[in-house]
């Protein structure tokens, strides 16, 4: 069981309010991702849930019980830190066993649980090593191992993959998703990387300056961003946002169109443009095209086979059904 509810939670550091009143429910078994640019309050929010920071006002409930004033140790949550926070003076075995030792569990039970966690995480051969002797990915797994042995009500992850190199990150992403399916426990995951959010989450919470901009499944966020912030933040490369005359033509202050929803042609189309830098990924190519409708170049995604010369003239046509419209306050117009 791991249902977490935040009711009118606020957090201030001195004068500065970093979390304005905020309400959020994380359902049992759900994989929830907090995503947003750095300084948006996502890590603070996670630390409030963990109990590592006091909330200024409001209530945090875990499984329907008020946990606002419960110390971190008694909340039944486990956390994986950005730096992994392994105890450098203890072996892998002792690291994983530490929470169990603190819970005064019997040595036999500790042994059994450490063994099974090590099994799941492929750490059996490394149990006697110190964290300093492990690779980044192995350390990450030890940190996860230390979290899972407690069988917590929920896991909290604070940007756990940001210290890994790109290749390893993809692998660990899969492993954590796999773990979630296997354990079926609530997971709350903080990241600034929208790709991680999209690939792993059941539910994404987009935060900016402490405010929740939108809550929804990855596809909901992608297909129907509530405002220009979410529109620009979710999706890679970013959605093209265009203001001015072209937007007014669609009865909006801002219009948005994703790079993958623009057709490109060398003879005819709605917008005329000049090819700038192109990024060839092999499977796809991203063209940055300068047009009269916007000061910023438009990003267009095309098949990897399409070759266009720098400075060539092209025509672009947005697919009407994928055009997003936003009003003066940046809110979505249905």
């Amino acid at each position: 069981m791991g249902r977490i509810q935040l009711k009118d939670v606020t957090k201030s550091f001195g004068e500065a309010q970093v979390i304005p009143p905020l309400n959020l429910t994380i359902e049992d078994g759900e994989f929830t991702v907090f995503v947003g640019p750095s300084g948006c309050g996502k890590s603070t929010l996670l630390r409030l849930i963990a109990g590592l920071e006091d909330i200024t006002s409001g209530v945090i409930e875990i499984n329907g019980e008020d946990a606002t004033d419960v110390v971190p140790a008694r909340r039944g949550l486990a956390m994986v830190f950005q730096s992994y926070a392994l105890y450098p003076h203890m072996s892998v075995r002792k690291n994983i066993a530490f929470p169990l030792r603190m819970a005064k569990m019997s040595p036999d039970e500790i042994d059994r649980r450490v063994k099974s966690a090590a099994d799941v995480l492929n750490l059996t051969d490394y149990l006697e090593r110190r964290p300093g002797q492990l690779s980044g990915g192995q350390r990450q797994r030890v940190a996860i191992g230390r979290a899972i042995v407690r069988e917590p009500a929920a896991f909290l992850f604070d940007e756990p993959l940001s210290n890994l190199d790109a290749a390893l990150r993809v692998g660990m992403r899969m492993e954590i998703s796999e773990l979630h399916k296997k354990l079926d426990t609530t997971m709350v995951y903080v990241t600034h990387d929208q790709v991680e959010a999209m690939t792993m989450a059941d539910k994404i919470v987009v935060l900016q300056a402490g405010y929740i901009e939108q809550v929804g499944s990855p596809l909901e966020l992608y297909q129907r961003p509530k405002n220009t912030f979410v529109a620009g933040f979710i999706g890679s490369p970013k959605m093209n946002l265009v203001t001015g005359a072209e937007a007014a033509r669609h009865d909006a202050t801002t219009i948005g169109i994703r790079p993958e929803h623009i057709d490109i042609s060398d003879s005819e189309g709605a917008w005329k443009g000049i090819v700038g830098v192109s990024e060839h990924l092999g499977s796809d190519t991203f063209f940055h095209i300068h047009s009269d409708i916007s000061d910023e170049p438009l990003t267009v995604r095309a098949s990897g086979e399409l070759l266009l010369d720098y400075g060539a003239t092209v025509f672009l046509t947005p697919r009407a059904e994928y055009l997003h419209r936003f009003d003066a306050r940046g809110l979505r117009i249905e």
Partner: protein, 288 residues
């Protein structure tokens, strides 16, 4: 990164250190300031009533005041000059690749660990003694008349002894600073066509700037209050009476506590002027 619980625990755990140091600072300081405004002669009746600013005026106008100030300045300035210049050169040398670097380092650092009374006595007797000292032997070897160092060249001798004690400190800190210099910076400068002297002037010296400042400030604070070296060698005679030593004599030798306390207040003000600069640097470092 904290909760109310840990904050109150923190305050409690900090209390003993803060309270003790507060007492250590405030109680004697208040007493010194109080005495400095009294006519206070423990051996001649004790507290003989208020003295206004008499002690302050008398301390500054006494014939020994300005000589003491000069002595202090010469010792502090001389030692600083010697230790910083030699320290930089020595640090540069020790930073070069060589055999037995560790041993040389140890040899150079050793004087810092010699207690002040020992180094003063060893220098005074075994090196500077006009009859049997090593220097006297050396002088005679070249047919020169041995010098009675501590009476004829008293200031130079004391500056030498103290420099010997503090050179390791300057060298060690400057060496640490040099070693923290990114070698890519030097290589970049070399690619840009800078010769060894230019590299020293434009890259190494600016990089050492902060360390040099710190060496100067910290040494100044310690040097302003050197005591044992003078106590053991000249006892303040032959023009080696520093401000610190003058105050010591007023307070404990002639037992004129009021006068000595006024001197103490001057010393505190002087030290604070240096301290403010040091604390700025250290404070900046705290934010990093």
């Amino acid at each position: 990164m904290a909760t109310k619980a840990s904050r109150s625990a923190a305050r409690l755990m900090m209390a003993p250190a803060v309270i003790l140091l507060m007492g250590w600072m405030l109680v004697p300081l208040t007493m010194t300031v109080w005495f400095s405004f009294r006519k206070y002669l423990p051996l001649r009746g004790g507290d003989l009533g208020p003295a206004g600013f008499d002690n302050y005026v008398r301390f500054v106008t006494s014939s020994s005041f300005w000589p003491a100030v000069w002595t202090t300045l010469i010792i502090v300035g001389g030692v600083l000059l010697i230790t910083v210049v030699l320290g930089i050169l020595l640090a540069l040398l020790l930073d070069q690749p060589m055999w037995g670097q560790g041993v040389v380092r140890i040899l150079v650092i050793a004087p810092f660990f010699v207690m002040p009374t020992v180094s003063a006595l060893v220098w005074k007797n075994m090196f500077m003694d006009p009859t049997n000292g090593l220097f006297a032997h050396l002088w005679r070897l070249f047919g020169a008349e041995p010098v009675a160092w501590l009476s004829e060249a008293s200031m130079g001798s004391i500056v030498m002894i103290v420099s010997w004690q503090w050179l390791p400190f300057a060298t060690l800190i400057l060496l640490t600073a040099i070693q923290s210099l990114d070698s890519e910076q030097l290589e970049a400068a070399e690619m840009d066509g800078a010769g060894p002297l230019q590299r020293f002037g434009h890259i190494i010296l600016p990089h050492l700037g902060r360390a040099i400042t710190i060496v100067i400030l910290i040494q100044t604070i310690f040097l302003l209050s050197i005591f044992a070296e003078i106590f053991v060698t000249t006892g303040g005679a032959f023009g080696t009476r520093t401000l610190t030593y003058l105050i010591f004599q007023r307070v404990l030798e002639s037992q004129n506590v009021g006068l000595g306390s006024a001197g103490g207040v001057y010393a505190i003000i002087l030290a604070n002027i240096v301290a403010i600069f040091l604390m700025r640097i250290v404070g900046k470092n705290l934010d990093a």
